[in-house]
């Protein structure tokens, strides 16, 4: 760096002012201009977050929202050069600093997570599935999963109910957002068992192997016939949604 410490400090002071509004003395500045910069920078954050999290923006009180924006703006060193990715940093900031507890809004993290994951799946880079064939045995063959998806676990079903209402339905919710071939994002609600199936199949396990393992580990408690039907139904749903593409080719 060829800046003198003084010039470096001037830039630091200017940024500090913009982020916190704590008054600084920088030679030759005009307060009116400094005010504009603070307003512009904060607005950029506010607008980007309001656009990404419209429900959170509505559910939070004005002062809660302003607190989040001000704290994030003042304290978070934004890592991404791409402002459309900033909502992820905002969501993790809110979670890490426990605003859900501070505001007594237990669903807040889930609300932000749910919206972020929708953006993430909508914008994720195009990815091709492994080579696959269309014909195969749903239980005996290895299934190819389309990579343009994600899977998240929520405590409050903010995808099913209005945020406040979701509070009454606390539980374990698995949600599988995926991108359709015409670029929409759809969500599939998965019972815990299906989320387990999904992860196993994604790792390349066949239905037959999966059933066998379940049988072995559960003793005689499970009804294997019912389990098989349940797994088949799940696989069919995944195929019909396009999340499962086909059967591993070349085997």
């Amino acid at each position: 760096m060829l800046y003198t410490p003084e010039t470096y400090q001037i830039e630091k002071d200017l940024v500090q002012w913009c982020k916190t509004g704590e008054s600084v003395t920088i030679p030759g500045t005009r307060q009116k201009g400094l005010d504009q910069y603070r307003r512009l920078l904060r607005n950029n954050i506010h607008n980007a977050m309001e656009q990404a999290f419209p429900i959170a923006f509505t559910v939070l009180t004005e002062s809660q929202w302003d607190t989040l924006i001000d704290d994030f703006h003042a304290n978070h060193p934004a890592a991404t050069p791409q402002v459309w990715k900033l909502p992820e940093e905002f969501y993790t900031f809110v979670e890490a600093h426990r605003y859900a507890e501070k505001f007594s809004l237990p669903f807040l993290n889930d609300l932000l997570h749910f919206k972020w994951i929708e953006i993430a799946v909508h914008t994720m880079e195009d990815q091709q599935p492994e080579p696959y064939r269309n014909e195969g045995d749903p239980l005996a063959d290895t299934i190819v999963v389309h990579p343009e998806h994600s899977i998240i676990r929520l405590k409050y079903p903010v995808h099913l109910y209005a945020a406040e209402e979701a509070l009454a339905h606390e539980g374990d919710y698995f949600l599988l957002p995926f991108r359709t071939r015409d670029f929409d994002v759809r969500f599939v609600d998965l019972p815990a068992l299906h989320a387990f199936y999904f992860e196993q199949i994604k790792q390349g396990k066949t239905g037959v192997k999966l059933l066998k393992e379940l049988e072995q580990s559960s003793g005689k408690i499970l009804n294997t016939k019912a389990l098989k039907q349940n797994l088949l139904g799940f696989i069919q749903t995944m195929f019909s949604q396009g999340i499962f593409c086909g059967y591993q080719a070349g085997i």
Binding site: M1, E11, L14, A48, P81, Q82, L86, V121, T123, F183
Partner: protein, 280 residues
């Protein structure tokens, strides 16, 4: 620059849906911010693919932050370089300002102190970036709302950086107008002192006057007549034709209105290019 690349428009998500299939707006090129498109798949990735198939692209970055104390973000610049190669980009422009500090992004352009040490620092950075990209960097004069610990005039600051670094200049005529108003100098005299032979790209935009002594460079309004006049003055002084961009970032009007603004820019360029030597 091919003679056909003359008048362009900033391509943003907000205009994408109206852009395809229309014939009202016929830009010779589009300008895109790599930050808004790098790594995008799905719907927007498809839009990007389609638009880059139809139009030559000029890149206009937002996050290079040439006036930052820290090293440039080489990882992101690598992506920019790929884009430059893939889409045969002839101009990669950025801002003579800083937009991050100690690697924390600010998503806006802050004014660099006009000081000797800043010139040295920035010249070194420009050279590093040009070496890395293996092409010339083009830097834009930015609008600013307060001077910051200036030790010299803005014109000297810009001239010295351009002369010493070998970078090109993107002359934003509206920014000159805005700054002249906000800081009380004469816009034409400012233009007179710019290294016009190094200018390889123009920006033209609208702005918003929020107080008698304060104009904000919004890119959300139509270009006003005094800025067209300043563009006329500048292009008449230039010895060559360079592309000009209509910058509109929000508050988008009908396509017809944007087309009229582009038409006006074309007319002014055509009028003043009669006397220019054509550089093929």
């Amino acid at each position: 620059m091919q003679p056909s690349i003359q008048t362009g428009i900033g391509f943003r998500r907000e205009i994408a849906d109206d852009f395809f299939g229309q014939t009202v707006l016929q830009p010779d090129f589009i300008e895109m911010a790599p930050e808004n498109w790098v790594g995008l798949g799905g719907y927007w990735g498809d839009v990007f693919r389609r638009v880059t198939e139809c139009y030559p692209v000029i890149l206009h970055g937002l996050s290079l932050s040439i006036g930052s104390p820290e090293e440039p973000d080489w990882t992101f610049l690598k992506e920019v370089k790929k884009m430059i190669r893939k889409y045969n980009v002839k101009i990669y422009s950025e801002h003579l300002s800083f937009a991050k500090l100690d690697n924390a992004h600010l998503y806006d352009l802050l004014p660099i102190p006009f000081r000797k040490d800043a010139i040295k620092h920035i010249v070194k950075r420009i050279r590093q970036v040009q070496d890395f990209l293996e092409m010339q960097l083009t830097l834009e004069n930015v609008s600013y709302y307060t001077p910051v610990a200036a030790e010299m005039r803005e014109t000297d600051f810009i001239r010295e950086i351009v002369a010493e670094s070998g970078c090109g200049m993107l002359l934003d005529v509206n920014n000159v107008y805005v700054n002249a108003h906000n800081h009380g100098y004469n816009a034409k005299e400012f233009i007179d002192q710019m290294p016009l032979d190094k200018v390889n790209y123009f920006h033209m935009a609208g702005h918003l006057q929020v107080a008698p002594d304060l104009i904000i460079d919004t890119h959300g309004e139509p270009i006003i007549d005094p800025v067209y006049d300043l563009f006329d003055y500048t292009t008449a002084k230039m010895g060559k034709n360079v592309p000009v961009l209509l910058e509109r970032d929000f508050n988008f009007p009908e396509m017809e209105e944007l087309a009229l603004e582009m038409k006006k820019l074309r007319e002014i360029t055509a009028k003043n290019s009669k006397h220019h030597v054509i550089h093929a």
